[in-house]
């Protein structure tokens, strides 16, 4: 009996010994992730790689949170509540430096987006090799077009803030040195040209994707920034099929219900019903991963909420009497909200410094909600037809052989919608002044004015006594995160003054 037990136990345990000599099962594939070797074989896979390149637009480093703060503070559209956090306040008085995390996240978000677009473009051969029955050539081209559009979009965000940039046309882990701004512009224009020729028209494309028209609108904008007015006008003239929201309906541009409306050319999408993710985790700063499908804008700008910023007095005073846009841009005591059922009281504009006179209305949810939350789903309409009209006006006014009358006609279209008469002397200077004013009030709180001021070269007067240093604050510093990890961009290579 005893011998038997010893015998059996020895055999049973002996089996384990034999078993443990087998090393072949150490080869494991990660069951939780996809692998590059087996990717780009279906339309859904190609499409998903393109989708990923959009997702970085939603980071807190860009439209999820910081971009509107930083840009609206620098343009002096908004004034900071004294409670505004320390990493945001410096944008109002231009005291930021290369250690500022908002600058870092902006930089990272854009370059991560570029890398996502390059992931698609790197696999162009693999995509083009797919048979027609899986993906038609037209669709292959339009997917590649989206990647080109997005790479251009991110580089445009970057070049305006940082000037000379490292250029990456492929995914790599080997860093590059800064290339001249002109080279960056060349890449942006090439990308937008490819996009404009290969993207689908807005009439057939899914809502939310880049379209042929959006590519032309941005190509026009980029050329305008380069002061290539004739070429810009050619591109802008190709942006067709849009019209302004009707007089009295200006606010349609800032509601969730009217996303992708008739004036909207390109939007940054948010939709909380797809998931709100973790509003505070590190991943959401620049990574673009997760379901970070809402913005903090409503909560942060809202006068009934955090009220971290409020409309600057100087901006409020810029509006002409009778400008219909005022009531659609700002809340003041007496404004109606919650579908017209509630009225803003003077005490609804309370800060720890005392009472203010107004709060932001654009992109707020108060029009339909009593209250803001950290989740807002309203898309940012970053390219509106009104912008195309005013850009065309600028082209006409500036180009050799242009027509001030034509320019005034474009401005008039925008002002008519605002319920204003248009009386402008047909001189280049007066038209230019009119454009400066019109862009300021039309796009208040839409992160347009700071770029305008810089490209017009009028910062020394427009940003007087704000802390703006001419020759320095036109650009942001390259963040420390880059200069400490890129041997080709040293701290001493930073922008002037940093």
């Amino acid at each position: 009996m005893m011998k038997k037990i010893v015998y059996i136990v020895t055999i049973v345990f002996g089996i384990f010994t034999i078993n443990s000599c087998d090393t072949s099962d150490l080869e494991l594939n990660n069951p939780n992730t996809l692998r590059p070797e087996t990717f780009f074989t279906t339309e859904a896979q190609v499409k998903s790689a393109v989708n990923a390149a959009y997702a970085n637009l939603q980071t807190r480093g860009l439209y999820g949170r910081n971009l509107s703060f930083a840009m609206d503070l620098m343009s002096q559209d908004t004034s900071p509540n004294p409670q505004l956090e320390g990493n945001k306040k410096p944008f109002h008085d231009f005291s930021f430096n290369a250690g500022n995390d908002i600058i870092q996240y902006y930089w990272e978000s854009c370059f991560l987006g570029i890398s996502r677009a390059n992931f698609v473009l790197d696999n162009e051969e693999k995509i083009n090799a797919l048979p027609d029955r899986i993906l038609t050539q037209e669709k292959k081209n339009k997917f590649l077009g989206e990647a080109h559009f997005l790479r251009a979009y991110y580089y445009f965000l970057l070049v305006n803030r940082f000037g000379d940039l490292p250029i990456y046309k492929k995914q790599t882990i080997i860093s590059a040195a800064r290339s001249p701004k002109a080279d960056v512009y060349t890449l942006i224009k090439e990308d937008l040209q490819f996009a404009s020729q290969n993207l689908l028209s807005k009439d057939v494309e899914e809502k939310g994707r880049a379209t042929k028209e959006a590519a032309y609108a941005y190509l026009g904008k980029v050329l305008l920034y380069e002061k290539k007015y004739d070429e810009a006008l050619v591109a802008l003239n190709k942006v067709t099929g849009f019209s302004l929201e009707d007089k009295g309906n200006f606010f349609n541009n800032f509601t969730e219900e009217n996303e992708h409306g008739k004036e909207s050319i390109f939007e940054i999408g948010f939709d909380e019903k797809n998931g709100v993710g973790d509003k505070w985790g590190d991943a959401g700063n620049s990574g673009g991963t997760g379901f970070e499908e809402s913005t903090l804008r409503g909560q942060e700008y809202g006068n009934l909420s955090w009220y971290n910023v409020y409309p600057a007095d100087e901006l409020l005073n810029s509006y002409e009497t009778g400008d219909l846009r005022f009531g659609d841009t700002f809340y003041v005591p007496g404004s109606k909200y919650l579908n017209g059922t509630e009225t803003m009281k003077a005490s609804d504009f309370t800060t720890s410094e005392g009472l203010r006179n107004s709060g932001w209305k654009k992109y707020q949810n108060y029009y339909r909600k009593l209250d803001e939350a950290v989740q807002s789903s309203i898309n940012f309409k970053v390219m509106r037809y009104a912008d195309v009209l005013l850009m065309k006006a600028e082209c006409e006014n500036q180009r050799t052989g242009g027509s001030q009358t034509a320019a005034i006609a474009y401005i008039k279209e925008v002002r008519d919608r605002a319920g204003l008469l248009t009386v402008i002397n047909a001189t280049k200077d007066d038209v230019f002044k009119a454009i400066i004013h019109e862009r300021k009030v039309e796009f208040a709180g839409e992160q347009s004015r700071f770029d305008d001021i810089i490209r017009w070269g009028i910062a020394s007067t427009e940003l007087q006594a704000t802390g703006f240093t001419v020759g320095k604050n036109e650009l942001w510093p390259i963040p420390n995160r880059e200069t400490s990890s890129n041997p080709l961009i040293k701290p001493s290579d930073n922008n002037p003054g940093f």
Binding site: N19, L26, T33, F119, D271, T289, W306
Partner: protein
Amino acid sequence: MMLKLKFAIIALLIVSTQNVMAQSKTIKGMVTDPSGVPLPGASINVEGSKNSASTDFDGNYSLQGVNATDKITYSYVGLTSQTITVGNQTVINIKLAESTQTLNEVVVAYGTQKRTKVTGAVSVVNAKDIVAVPITNAESALQGRAAGVTVVNGAPGSNPTVTIRGLATMGNSAPLYVIDGVLTSNLSGLSPNDIESISVLKDASTTALYGSKAFNGVIMVTTKKGKKGPGQLTFSSYVGAQTVTKRYDVLNTQQYLQYAKDLGSDLTARAAEFGNVSTDWQDQIFQTGFMQDYNLSFSNGTENSTSRYSAEYLKQEGTIINTGFERYSFRANNTQDIGKLRLGSNIGVSFTKTNPERSAGGRTLLEHAIKMAPYFPIYNAENLGGYQGPSAVDSNDAENPVRVANLGYQKINGLSIIGNIYAELEIFKGLKFRSQVSLDYYTTKNHTFVPSFYDGTAHKQAFSTTNETNAQGQTIVFDNSLTYKTTFADKHNFEVLGVITKIDGKSQNLAAGSQYAISDEIDQLRYNNGSLGSSNFVEKNIGYVARINYDYDDKYILAVSGRRDASSRFGANNRWGNFYSVAVGWNIAKESFMADSIFSTLKLRASTGTTGNDRIDNYQYSATLIADYNYPIGGGNAPGVSAGVASNPDLKWESKNDRNIGVDFGLFDEKFTGSFEYFNNKSSDILFAVPLAASVGSAGGGTQIQNIADVKVNGYELSLSYNDRKGDFTWSATANFGTSKNEVTALAPGVTSVLGGPSARAGLENFSRLEVGQPLFYFYGYQTNGIYQNQAEVDAVFGPGQTIIKPGDIKIVDRNGDKAITSEDKTNIGNPYPDFTYGLNITAAYKKFDFNCFITGVQGNDIYNANIFDLQGMNRLFNVGTEVLGRAVVGTNGAVSNPSATIPRAKGADINWSSANQRYIEDGSYTRLKNVTLGYTLSGDAFKSYFSNIRFYVSGQNLITLTKYSGLDPEIARADTNANSAGIDLGRYPQPKSVIFGLDVTF
């Protein structure tokens, strides 16, 4: 009930005594403990024979068949065994002495070793010390008792941070735990009462046998086993209370309103709205936590079998509201001998329930409690949820900490099964085959439910949220070993071991969350605004282990070991790793020329060897895609996939080369014992997440794991122990002392430094820095030098014209003299590692009284007290420390009117507070009376029919702490097991003071 059990035990006793064979001479007597209390269940063995007996309930024994030349060994767990030559005695009464550190057998990797033959660095903590202080987790038993080991506790139910001989890696620095041969990652399911001994293996000669898992040292835990002899039932219990008495001194409502006015906000009316209350938020989050613990165990053994069963219930309320820990643990350890075959099993099962400290908005409860304005009441029945918090008129960040802690719940339920089954066969004399299957299995379910609430406009939630994470893992280890033990020519002792081990690990996680706006009544997941994800990991290892121990007559010792390991965590290029060790020892005291010396022990030993570290995530060598991008398109979600984290197919083990020399000594017949160790370790190929340029846009943080950095660690350890007895008075004192110094010797090519670690507060810059030639993650920031008193002083540094720095601001030292404060002015402002750590343990017994006093401390470390950011920041309007009442005030003449002020002006330059600077650095040295216990033992005839003895004790923990540290507790828990959070106080769970009453009963 008890009497019934006792009858059962008597019955067992009768059975076992019947097994003793009848022979000529009979020895009788009594075995007592050092204080003279009879010891039931002590073992009496005749050396070299199977003749044995145990004492009965009164400590009496009777041993038949003894010859005059026989030697009898008396032993009892936790006491020093004693061997007596019988001679012509027939009555032998023995008082067993307190055990010192020189236990005869030391548990090492894959077996035990006689203490005299140990050549590596091993610290042992035995059962007596483990239960001397009532502790809730077994790791705490090591604190201050094992030289070179640091243990820091966090919230109830959290795993303590244990570090052996300092940090040698930049990643996970937790040691490997081995419970009865089962590899695991913590001791959370184990009742301290079930532990027989803990061996801490500190150098490669002892750890190399665990190869790729032994990099951070190994903690070997041996659980109590059944003893041959009559059954013994023990019961022990304690109840106690824990409290945190220290508070940060913050402004009351009256002071706060004035302070707010100074900052430009008149909140008088706001405070009046709430009836001018003044809430002490810290008092609201701290509570007295009650704890209770019950242990029942039964142990017995027959000629052919032993068994021990135990059960524990522990309930610990936290010192922060709505935190706590509960544990039910069960253990059964058995052996059964069948001829030359021994079968055995050690199985522990535990159920735990943890209520962790909750947080909101990325801020700890303590941060909320410090910053929350005092004029708020806690409750407001008119608000949804019933709490009051800030609106836009107040400040936004601070949330009502009572609401954060108490509204809804978070509970983590865990089940853990750790155990093994083994068979051991003596094939022929000296050759033993052992086969063991081990299992480490766990499930945890982490469920959080927060109903809708409205504290004010700043903090509100219009729906309930439910989040649940389920994790499950299992590791099965197959060990097969052969041991051959033999002696040639009487003096050449050999022991050869060979092991084949195979590890199969699997784990899976499922996480889901949802929101529900319709009702708060359902705390379960729903298909509303949900998130869902799961993951699944497999890890496999194979190891071949060999060890040869040789000694000549116990004098000259040589130990050689090697391990060849393969891991699925590494790519085919580097899958295998080889680890080895060599150690030598010389027992000088055994030399004939030492025969008359005062040394009873004198041993020199030296060792060197290598270990590896595979503590990285699975699958990192293979390129992957990230499928977690999302963007709204066409009214729905468009999922995105793109390139993953930069992979590295050449990843390999981190490796560490240890060198250790030691001397063990015992004087005056082991009355005075001690050991000294010096170690010098070099880790190389440290896995380091090399930051890629941000602009290349690499996913997942923009780093690539590379084997790139080198770190050296060296230090020494000293342990001394003295024990003495005078009549009824016995006492012993044990002291230990350890140092450990680390330095980064290499980083990636071209990388001279990296900033990492947690930032003091969200959005602020990081300050833990890696730099060649400096300690790991030292504090890097600006030096400060008082306050600028007037404009002339400011201009002297910056020149005229700048408008940012003004009088009243902190003088940040412009180290490079470029008239600007830039990151180039930063320098080393603190070192999180102590110069040395120490422990002193004194025990004494007089008649029926026993006493223990235990002091631990660290010296010379810096703490980065991030709470100062809240207490003295003053950049935004939150509650602050009362020290700001004495802040710099700038008079109408533009100069500071109170020159002695050390706190800068309110709302001064951003750099005052936003930068990492010297103001946050404090001396973290402390000396702490960790424990003091007084016990009294009742025994004797009067109680004989109920129990054999019963001990009552009262014990106090952390009653006295000497420190200059201004925070709540200098013994701060690290945020995680990662090295980069060392020495940073982010407002974490302080160690409580506690008072405990307990009793131990032996039936």
